[in-house]
Amino acid sequence: MPTQTIYTLIKQLFTKKATNPFPVKYAPENMHDAAELIEKGELEINPPVKVPPNLRGKLEYDKESCIGCQLCVKVCPSEALIFKEDRTVRHHINRCTFCGQCVDICPTNSFDFTDEFLMAGPRKLNDDLILNP
């Protein structure tokens, strides 16, 4: 019986999938082996999704231009910014909420957003999860 449902189902077979693909088609048996294969270039992974132009991704921090005014520390809602003794700021990405108040308030534009959004790591105090450690 040609109902609306069957028509929709057949149409769905030929349309682009609404969801994003996983990095690999089938789950590998061993993650370390898969990681090695990726490094050698023998296993191709699906690239991450496209990001919009002004995404609030991982922050970048320019230590040289920082003047140590502490305004960013005052406005950070999650206390991800810690003022150091050498008058610069340490940024913990694991606490960051990506509100961007530090980016807006900085008088010397030392903070900026990047397009990077894959920030998962095995430990929360990993080196790549702390800016200016």
Binding site: A18, T97, C99, Q101, P107, F113
Partner: protein, 415 residues
């Protein structure tokens, strides 16, 4: 009366719920399949956000306020910001008003489509759930394109907004609106014309106009009963004063103002069309100018510490009217007082008349029909651990407590 007690069963539904994804308890008294009494008991999701906010400065509270609710984060952000602007005496710029209106309406589209999916899921139409949540992605993408975040947009600041909607973004905005206009007929076909959905929604969970007025319900819940109540028209905020709006009630579209689940679905779907129109007008009428009236953030920060005052922010959230109250005190950088009243708090009272006389099978859809957000509205409850008794305060006792609290604040020496 005694006979009744012997024949009724008490059935608790929740906190892990068949209807909602949030912890919330409703106690039912059942006579066979029929509900004879219902009592809503919140209190499982109280996070003390007001208390957290009172120990931070207002700039830190903007990102905190939007985390009150995951779906209406713009709503809480807007209310907190306008309340603080009111207290400080800052006016947002005209361009910021229009951008705020556009964002509020985009969020209404996303919230109502989400609700339609949840409602379809409650009555057993999971294909519709997947369909509505799939089309919802489009507006989420647009919000991400404008604000940079998919949820918790962090767009607001005191005196304006932090991200602009420039003319090169207009094509994407219009494309998304066109997408929903094209799909609207299909949505109406699914939710308003389908005979099996009609059987599950018509004459279920009826809220009469008298009950709606007496219990102070808000938003689409009472507009479905024919109550003309909408903050966007009654007390315009942002750019709504410049727009020509009308109350969305079923009788405007040739339906009866019944107040059942069907009318609530109708009101929400028609509001989608209204939102699309509002966004189109706002984009066309958008005035040129600055994004914020306080471009120097450091100076604004000093101002926040030095001024004192109190302010109120009101908004028509997708779920109904909500209010924030903020008080600032000179010489103290933290907020002195912050009070939130979300729309679900009002609408919870409408549960009892809606549940009365209904069947057990209709509990999930009636519980979901007010679009409840427990995280927004949850309150703490005082329980005596030894006896297990729950304390309830009368109006007089609450008045006495508030007088005592005022005295305590006075004695603390804050002027």
């Amino acid at each position: 009366m005694k006979e009744k007690e012997e024949t009724t069963y008490e059935v608790p539904i929740g906190p892990i719920h068949p209807a909602l994804k949030e912890p919330f308890l409703i106690k039912f008294k059942l006579d066979g399949e029929e509900i004879v009494d219902a009592e809503a008991r919140p209190g499982m999701n109280h996070r003390g956000i007001e208390f957290m906010g009172m120990h931070r400065n207002p700039m830190k509270v903007i990102p905190l306020s939007e985390r009150i609710c995951g779906i209406c984060s713009i709503v809480h952000q807007h209310m907190f910001t306008t309340a603080t602007e009111h207290a400080l005496g800052i006016e947002p710029t005209n361009r910021a008003r229009y951008i705020r209106t556009i964002m509020c309406e985009l969020e209404r589209i996303h919230s109502h489509i989400l609700w339609a999916g949840v409602a379809a899921h409650e009555i057993g139409f999971d294909t519709h759930l997947h369909f509505t949540w799939k089309i919802r992605e489009k507006v989420m993408d647009l919000l991400e394109y404008i604000a940079g975040n998919r949820v918790n947009y962090s767009m607001w600041t005191f005196g304006g907004v932090r991200r602009d909607i420039t003319s090169d973004m207009y094509p994407k905005v219009f494309e998304t609106l066109k997408y929903y206009e094209d799909l609207y007929e299909k949505l109406e076909d699914i939710f308003l014309d389908d005979p099996s959905i009609k059987m599950r929604t018509q004459d279920v969970g009826v809220l009469t106009k008298e009950d709606a007025l007496a219990l102070c319900g808000v938003g689409p819940t009472v507009r479905a009963s024919g109550v003309k109540k909408d903050v966007r028209i009654d007390q315009p905020y942002a750019a709504y004063g410049d727009l020509d709006l009308d109350y969305v009630i079923p009788s405007r579209y040739g339906f009866e103002n019944k107040g059942d689940v069907f009318s609530k679905t109708l009101v929400r779907l028609k509001e989608l069309l209204q939102s699309i129109e509002i966004i189109k007008t706002c984009v066309e009428q958008m005035p040129e100018g600055e994004m914020t009236s306080e471009p120097k953030k450091a100076a604004l920060f000093n101002k926040l510490e030095k001024r004192s005052g109190e302010g109120i922010g009101r908004i028509e959230a997708p779920r109904g009217e909500a209010i924030h109250y903020v008080r600032l005190v000179e010489g103290r950088s933290d907020i002195d007082c912050w009070k939130i009243r979300a729309s679900t708090y009002n609408n919870l009272a409408t549960y009892r008349p809606m549940f009365m006389g209904e069947q057990i099978a209709d509990i999930p859809i009636i519980a979901a029909c007010i679009d409840p957000c427990i995280g927004c509205m949850d309150r703490a409850e005082i329980i005596d651990v030894d006896s297990g008794e729950v304390e309830t305060y009368t109006k007089e006792e609450l008045h006495e407590l508030s007088v005592k609290k005022t005295e305590r604040i006075k004695n603390r020496g804050i002027k």
